[in-house]
Amino acid sequence: MNFDILGSLPLIVIWLALGVVGIIIQAFVRSDSTRLVYGYYIGTLVTTGLLAAATISNQGTAFGGMVTLGGWAAVFDLLFCGAGVMAMLAAQAYLGRFNSELDEFYTMLVSSVAGMMLMAHARNLVVLFVGIELMSISFYIMAGFFRSRDKSLESAMKYFLLGAFATGFLVYGMALLYGATGTLDYSVMLKVIAAGTARFPVLLALGAVLLTIGLSFKIAAFPFHQWAPDVYEGAPTVVTAFMSTAGKAAAFSAFLAVFGVIMPMVKVASMTPTLQLVLAVISAATMLIGNITAVAQTNVKRMLAYSSVAHAGYMLMGIVAGTTFGQSAVVYYAFAYTFMQLGAFIIVGLLEREDETSLMISDYSGLYRKHGVFAAMMAVFMFSLAGIPPFAGFFGKYMLFYAAIESGFTWLTIVAVASSVISVWFYLGLIVKMYFSEPNPETHEANAGLAGISLAVCTVAVILLGIMPRIITGMLGN
């Protein structure tokens, strides 16, 4: 078996850059400024992203079949690295304002990206687990990065406790799957399941549902979503921006692998008759709960956190549909959602004051007078999140809804449309605040700096993806 060096390069580069070179730089190159590490890690992510883009068509496996190369995994790499770069561009000034700019932050961010990439590339449950944990532990640390702030610490602690709780089920599920099929390898597992030769069908079903539960926690789906608002609110805003987007996309890449490779949705029914329905109900409940609760929020970060919960519900529709189209809809939505949510959170971070104020929806009154560009961008993100054409969010929802209807889940689509309508309430509510309310005299100065690049990219991407959806869906060819 040939070892595909080219295809493995994105993985190899980020691991070497992080685990070998990065540690040496931080250990031996002493400097009072974080610039070196900052630049180095941005370079790492850019290089990895470019390599991933170059290897999309280079499909195969490597490391003894433990990871898959190219294809969707590489497309996801692009998303993780892109989101990582955008978050880092926004992070430097943000952390600086809070006197918390330490170079460890960037290390943790890149290590979480490395974990996400493993999740997307995994073709073995152990690799998947390592990836999930690497990402999650990096997130726990980043959530608590404002060490002197109670909220940040509380957020990290809650995230860690509940995350550990969920991980227990995840591992348990993996162990049961191993017990039932005798393997941890995705493709072998698929063969066993497809042939119906699993030794303990009950354990197989139990394993599948526990794995689903573990992953549902990561995407913050009901009833495993309650950590999300608290953690997203308490964590530094750039961290929230990054983990609510790239982190969610990573969990969905694992979802796609589980319900695309290990047990394709068409096979699930013969295995556990109710699992697809369960996922559909989770999807419906997640978007309803997310959107309805978001209506009552007064804090922008919390509102966006609940909206992030709701969007996980939408994306689950593609998983439930289980068709190729549904899967590409999930990938497309992951991109669309990342750009719009990341952009929105970055603006929230820019307007946030050092004393943790200016986070209320009322603080956005008349924003367009003072920060016309921010308000306009925020409006674009809100329109897109609400699913209004021609922005990316509209097209993503269209694809997901279409996939669900095609697979016979019309009722789920009706729920999704209804909850979208509810979501218009708070998304447009923010726009109304920004444009039609009297300006808030206390709005402070805010300079975009490097974050401006991220915002420009997000805005352009949200518009461009909406007009030319094939940018994403065409990445894998037809």
């Binding site: 406790l161 009901f222 495993f224 309650q226 950590w227 109710t274 609760t293 009552a296």
Partner: protein, 652 residues
């Protein structure tokens, strides 16, 4: 050459000026960027045209896919451009005339606080219009269709804070809304047609629909008649035909270059374009064709009569546009697609010229638009005057000027395709055209100076404004030579270029339509002679009438006061709509839809559901205790429920 470049430049122009107009600051930079974008686009159109010329005639039509726009299941739409004789001709007109109007606008809009906004809108408009004509499918055309509607709205209401006296409206914003709403009625027709076509053909691609149309529909099928009627409803909206003509005169609330670009040269011809593009469908629906011809000729006549008595220089031109568009529809209705498109071209030249010249007059007269307060401007504005005269001769149909050839061809086709009555009405409308145009000329440029010399100092416009006038005047003068009718052509050995050029586009429709064979040259010469007499006598009559100023006309108006009042009030069309449509709708919506349906039913439901959601939100919010143990408890409960549900089938 990739046809996508055609639309790319105006789009870039719009984005650059729209986003960075504030920073560009200098009018010159903005003007150069805006005009340059259109000029580059024009060059692309020229290259595409030359490419087509070099190809063998039968392959002068291809589709260039830019990218796949929507691809879900069985529904797939590409952003793809159809390059053929028709679309390239329209692209040349749009970008060529559009460029001149952009250059003119640099002078005309000088000092306006919305200078950058204006150019951004103009570029966006050209982008949308090009999409409309270049599209290879209905959906993309519809995008352009709606886009030009939007741009038209933005540009009519450009001076949104100014008063504007119109029918039942008082602000420029009202005029913009009127245009938009009236157009929406037409758009509804286009949508219906699109739905039906997709339902029948499973595609919205022009090529496929045209190809299969004859197999799917037989002559005069109800379905194809309904589809074409629905399309025609859209055309009456965009091209301001009866019954949807009322918006165009009020659209004069926009700056004059807008009137020239949108309401004379380009947007209003999109209705003609749509019928020309779907000619096969129309050829299969003779009933619709008859209606198109009837509506066209009626519009030509009625708008012409209204133009006879109006005093606002732009308003007369607006009605003349409506009337000329009526001529074009008449041509389409009798199956003379080429003649209709030919008149689109010459009309774009001379009507853009006349509007821009009127803009020059208005500019020189300090925003005065009433011709009764002008007079004798000839000596103050020699260039404007000279070009205006050429435009007037062209629109009136004086031989060798461009309008003569195109209008004559329409009248000739009306005669052989529709009969002497259709021709007769057309000739009367043509007479009116010549009359009201010379009336304007007399009142504006000749006779006594009726303006106040103390406050008004007429002056010639700057060169950025006069240069486009001169170029358009040249085109108006000689533009007709590409379409010299055969009876003349074979004497001097010049072919009818435009007919030959467009022939492949309409060949399948012509094959369906009844052919008119026979030897008509004596008749054609006779009719041509009559047209010339009609045009010249219209001018001469207007000359004797208005040489001394408007007084003689006032006496006549007093004598025929009833007729005068009807014409002055535009046949009471607006009043009729107000009475029959607007008021009933208004009353019904206020007393029933608003006070009952909205306030009671909808608000009840909405507020009720809103209260429900808000209430459930606050309940759900309370679940969010902030205590990690509670969260873990809910998780645990969820896990138990899920496991029970999933495992239940195994134990039942």
């Amino acid at each position: 050459m990739n046809p996508a470049l055609l639309t790319l430049f105006p789009l870039l122009g719009f984005v650059v000026i729209g986003l960075f107009g504030k920073w560009l600051k200098h009018e010159k930079v903005i003007g150069v960027v805006g005009s340059g974008a259109i000029f580059l686009s024009f060059l692309v159109a020229v290259v595409l045209f030359c490419d087509l010329l070099q190809m063998p005639e039968e392959s002068r039509s291809y589709v260039s896919t830019v990218y796949t726009w929507i691809a879900t299941g069985s529904f797939s739409v590409n952003v793809a451009y159809r390059v053929d004789q028709l679309s390239v001709l329209f692209a040349l007109i749009i970008t060529g005339v559009g460029f001149l109007i952009h250059v003119y606008s640099i002078g005309y809009m000088h000092g306006d606080k919305g200078f950058a906004r204006f150019f951004a809108y103009l570029n966006l408009f050209v982008f949308m219009m090009l999409n409309l004509v270049m599209a290879s499918n209905f959906l993309l055309t519809f995008l352009g269709w709606e886009g030009v509607g939007l741009c038209s709205y933005l540009l009519i209401g450009f001076w949104y804070d100014r008063k504007f006296e119109g029918s039942f409206i008082t602000w420029t914003g009202d005029a913009a809304k009127k245009a938009f709403i009236v157009n929406r009625i037409g758009d509804f027709g286009v949508l219906i047609a699109m739905f039906m076509l997709f339902n029948i053909f499973g595609t919205l691609d022009y090529g496929e629909i045209s190809q299969h149309a004859q197999g799917v529909f037989s002559m005069g099928d109800t379905a194809v008649t309904i589809i074409t009627l629905a399309l025609f409803l859209g055309c009456t909206g965009k091209s301001a035909q009866i019954p949807l003509a009322v918006w165009l005169p009020d659209a004069m609330a926009g700056p004059t270059p807008v009137s020239a670009l949108i309401h004379a040269a380009t947007m209003v011809t999109s209705g003609i374009f749509l019928i020309a593009r779907t000619n096969v469908l129309f050829a299969l629906a003779p009933a619709t064709m008859a209606i198109v011809a009837g509506v066209g000729i009626a519009t030509a006549l009625i708008a012409g009569t209204i133009g006879l008595v109006q005093n606002d220089i732009k308003k007369v031109l607006a009605y003349s546009t409506v009337s000329q568009l009526g001529f074009m529809f008449t041509a389409l209705g009798v199956g003379a697609f080429t003649a209709g498109v030919f008149h689109v071209m010459t009309h774009a030249f001379f009507k853009a010229l006349l509007f821009l010249a009127s803009g020059s007059v208005i500019h020189g007269m300090h925003e005065e638009q009433d011709v009764q307060k002008m007079g004798g401007l000839k000596k103050y504005m020699p260039v404007t005057f000279a070009t205006w005269i050429i435009g007037t001769f062209a629109i009136a149909g004086i031989p060798v000027f461009s309008g003569f050839f195109s209008k004559d061809e329409i009248l000739w086709n009306a005669y052989i395709g529709g009969g002497p009555i259709l021709w007769g009405i057309g000739a009367i409308a043509a007479f009116f055209t010549a009359f009201y145009m010379w009336r304007l000329t007399s009142l504006t440029f000749f006779g006594k100076e009726r303006f106040d010399h103390h406050s008004v100092h007429p002056h010639e416009s700057p060169v950025t404004m006069t240069a486009p006038l001169v170029i358009l005047a040249v085109l108006s003068a000689i533009g007709g030579f590409v379409g010299i009718p055969h009876v003349i052509g074979h004497l001097i050995n010049v072919p009818n270029y435009i007919e030959h050029w467009l022939e492949p586009v309409f060949s399948s429709a012509q094959a369906i339509l009844p052919a008119h064979v026979g030897e008509y040259s004596a008749l054609e010469w006779t009719l041509m002679g009559i047209s010339t007499v009609v045009a010249v006598s219209g001018i001469l009559l207007a000359r004797t009438f208005y040489a001394a100023g408007p007084e003689r006309a006032h006496q006549l108006a007093a004598r025929f006061s009833l007729l005068y009042k009807i014409l002055w009030n535009k046949w009471y069309l607006d009043e009729l709509y107000q009475m029959l449509l607007v008021n009933p709708i208004y009353i019904a919506s206020r007393d029933f839809l608003w006070k009952v349906v909205d306030v009671v039913v909808i608000d009840g439901i909405v507020n009720g559901s809103a209260r429900t959601i808000a209430a459930s939100a606050s309940i759900l919010r309370r679940l969010q205790t902030g205590i990690a143990q509670n969260y873990a408890l809910l998780m645990m409960a969820g896990i138990v429920v899920l496991i029970v549900i999933v495992l239940y089938p195994f134990f039942s």
